[in-house]
Symmetry: C2
Subunit: 444 residues, 2 copies
């Protein structure tokens, strides 16, 4: 794990938030490569789940919502961890994570055994909207994006032409005031979710839960996380939320242990029912075929953007020993991202930087690709070193512009380039005219 964290900092994937001020526990920033990786993940999720489907609508709700939403959903009452205070040093800790000695729990900060009884600590960040810090103005930062979908169910139904089954999808930030943020960006206090609420008739709920399990496994495969690396945990009766008839957790083997990437929960009509009860609004559905009104059931595939980003980094990270032309062996660090996820799709490299025709041609090639994909132009250093830099960034393709390209070795080689593959380090010759289509086919 340390190697991944170090690479992420060194190459600009992930930085500590507010690092120059000592950071802030549970908050992270994404650097130039990290923001592209995350954007590729989110854009592909959006394309696959929203744009390519006729039965899905997108939306984007606000982070701060009316407090009534969280009363109705139950979060204000129950979204909490058990806490104890130390009566000596006044530090606060999770009751279920206290150290124990001779069967007695003690404060991890000062060692005192004078602890309060456990009480619930709500994980929602509180704030106030409006000029007074009064109870009337109390608001929460949403601890999940899902509720914005439920409260907009009627609006989306009325403005789209959807019939059951159909879904509403959303990507956005959520906040949880974790007592103990940990495992790098896996459990942070500010994070991003990609959530679908898929509404259906009650009798279709179980079947559609299995359908979404399959869809989501395909998705992970399509971004480079093979099915064999994902553990499907079918949560047994009694361990699920009381309203859920079926829940699958999809888990990935992170370096710090097997941990949840996504949950797929059949939540029945619990959420819409709660909002009907609390708002008094008709969040039901009229079925034209059966002439009945019903409260739709819902299947929720809910994935974490940051967790999946971390899984992509863990899955891609590799070190191998390679031997150069002179017989020296060295360690090659490479991020083997699926081309679709790679922050940089193609590096364009003039063989030499002091030959204007090479530089000019390389810049022209880079410019022609840029409206279509993220391209990196690099002219500094030996070509081998430039390849290695791209290996570390996870760039699947490097294109080298050499003397053949500019026609110095005859017209039959003119306008061909060296295409170098990140994973195999193999090089092939390809016509410039075919380059765009070749790359597009692999990154789309």
């Amino acid at each position: 794990m340390e190697k991944i964290v170090s690479l992420c900092k060194r190459r600009g994937f992930i930085f500590q938030s507010s690092e120059i001020y000592g950071g802030l526990n549970g908050f992270w920033d994404f650097g130039p490569l990290g923001v592209e990786l995350k954007k590729n993940l989110k854009d592909f999720w959006w394309r696959r789940n929203v744009r390519e489907r006729d039965d899905m609508e997108g939306m984007d709700g606000s982070i701060i919502m009316n407090r009534a939403v969280w009363k109705a959903s139950g979060h204000e009452e129950t979204f909490s961890d058990p806490m104890v205070d130390c009566k000596e040093c006044h530090s606060r800790n999770r009751a279920d994570q206290l150290p124990e000695k001779n069967g007695e729990k003690y404060c991890p900060n000062c060692g005192s055994r004078k602890l309060t009884e456990p009480r619930d600590f709500n994980l929602m960040f509180k704030s106030h909207a409006g000029p007074l810090e009064s109870d009337d103005n109390l608001v929460y930062l949403r601890p999940e994006t899902a509720q914005a979908i439920f409260v907009n169910f009627r609006n989306v139904l009325d403005t789209s032409r959807q019939k059951l089954p159909f879904g509403i999808a959303q990507i956005g930030k959520a906040f949880r005031n974790e007592i103990n943020p940990r495992n790098y960006i896996f459990r942070s206090r500010e994070f991003e979710q990609m959530e679908i609420e898929y509404f259906c008739r009650p009798e279709d709920g179980m079947r559609l839960t299995d359908y979404w399990l399959e869809e989501r496994l395909k998705f992970y495969e399509d971004i480079g996380i093979p099915r064999s690396k994902i553990k499907i945990h079918d949560i047994p009766d009694g361990d699920r939320a009381f309203y859920s008839k079926k829940t699958y957790d999809l888990e990935y083997e992170f370096p710090f242990g097997v941990s949840e990437l996504e949950g797929i929960a059949y939540r029945t009509d619990y959420d819409l029912g709660k909002h009907i009860e609390h708002s008094g609004k008709p969040l039901d559905y009229f079925d034209e075929a059966t002439k009945e009104r019903l409260v739709p059931h819902v299947v929720e595939p809910s994935a974490g953007v940051d967790r999946t980003t971390l899984a992509l980094l863990c899955e891609a990270f590799d070190e191998e020993t390679v031997t150069d032309e002179k017989g020296h062996s060295e360690t090659r660090t490479v991020l083997r991202f699926h081309p679709r996820m790679a922050p940089i799709k193609c590096a364009v490299l003039p063989l030499l930087k002091n030959k204007p025709p090479l530089v000019e041609k390389a810049r022209a090639v880079a410019s022609s690709l840029k409206p279509l994909m993220n391209v990196f132009y690099d002219e500094a250093g030996a070509i081998g070193r430039r390849y290695r830099r791209q290996d570390e960034a996870g760039t699947p393709f490097c294109v080298t512009i050499d003397f053949d390209t500019i026609g110095e070795n005859g017209p039959e080689k003119q306008d061909t380039v060296t295409l170098r593959h990140r994973d195999s380090m193999q090089q092939e010759r390809i016509a410039l005219a075919d380059l765009k289509a070749y790359l597009l086919e692999r990154i789309l």
Copy 2:
């Protein structure tokens, strides 16, 4: 304006946040069409400013940062509006917006003239990170994205290969606890910014401010807001922030008045200087050419996502009287978005829904386009009504699959479709084989 607000609600562009609970003042949700419009805007800004430029790095910082950031930037001290409390009804109001009668100010809520002296009300949303609601744990929701860029200046410089001048770009949410949110999504409490901090040598600051003015005007033109509609306000000496040597406001004529879309401010070395002073970290730059260390100056083009989205809607909205084949005139509502911004790029319509070969062909055409663009498939209702629905959604192209397409009128017309243009309502015949390239050229 009412017509635009009504269309936005009716067609699913924009909803009130938490509407079923009476909404929340200053917060908005984006529906199925709104989220696509906003995504197109953000994606094009990112492509134009980050991916197509060699001198720009992207990043994505957390919304909650260490409080020290806001002490250093001056926001904790000075990011405020003047407020007065009413001593009778305890309502709080902006001092500069109080109603006046006979030269005396009074409370807009109860009419009392017993008002406190004005005092500063900080516009940053407060919260606490960690288990205690203590001063040590106080955090703010960022009121602007810019500071995340300044505090990451060193990290980005060290992990990229940039030399001055170069920029760092970011899109993300920011929060301001406005006392009086107003003008629909123009001034809300939760909003999104697209900001660039472009770092340069001091002697290049003024010139680059003019360069960015020109770049940004081109950008607005490229999304369908013509140069003639943007008023450039060159803020005079004395009206600018004290550290700014030059500031341009780009203003658009909204229905509620001419208002700011974007500010382009030459902020000198004020921000990096403040963070050097407060963090003690070396946020300076070593110039290899001149062998000197310097604190870069910065030019900041800062645009609002929601404001620009609103400008796109206002600019696109049109009503015209059209006459149908039978001589009846009616009002056509149309959103004349630039194809690049339009939420739906192309609607695919089988002429009749009860002819399986038409439906099958239309679905195949829609599927072939979907990985490349947002496509809407619609088979319900008369073709004229379906066109009108797309006009209201701003869809630039409709493709109709008819009996010619499926070869019922001879092989020479087979695999051609009717392409109908939103703005002119003109129709032309186009070969299916050419459709993808035709559309891509216009929406990219």
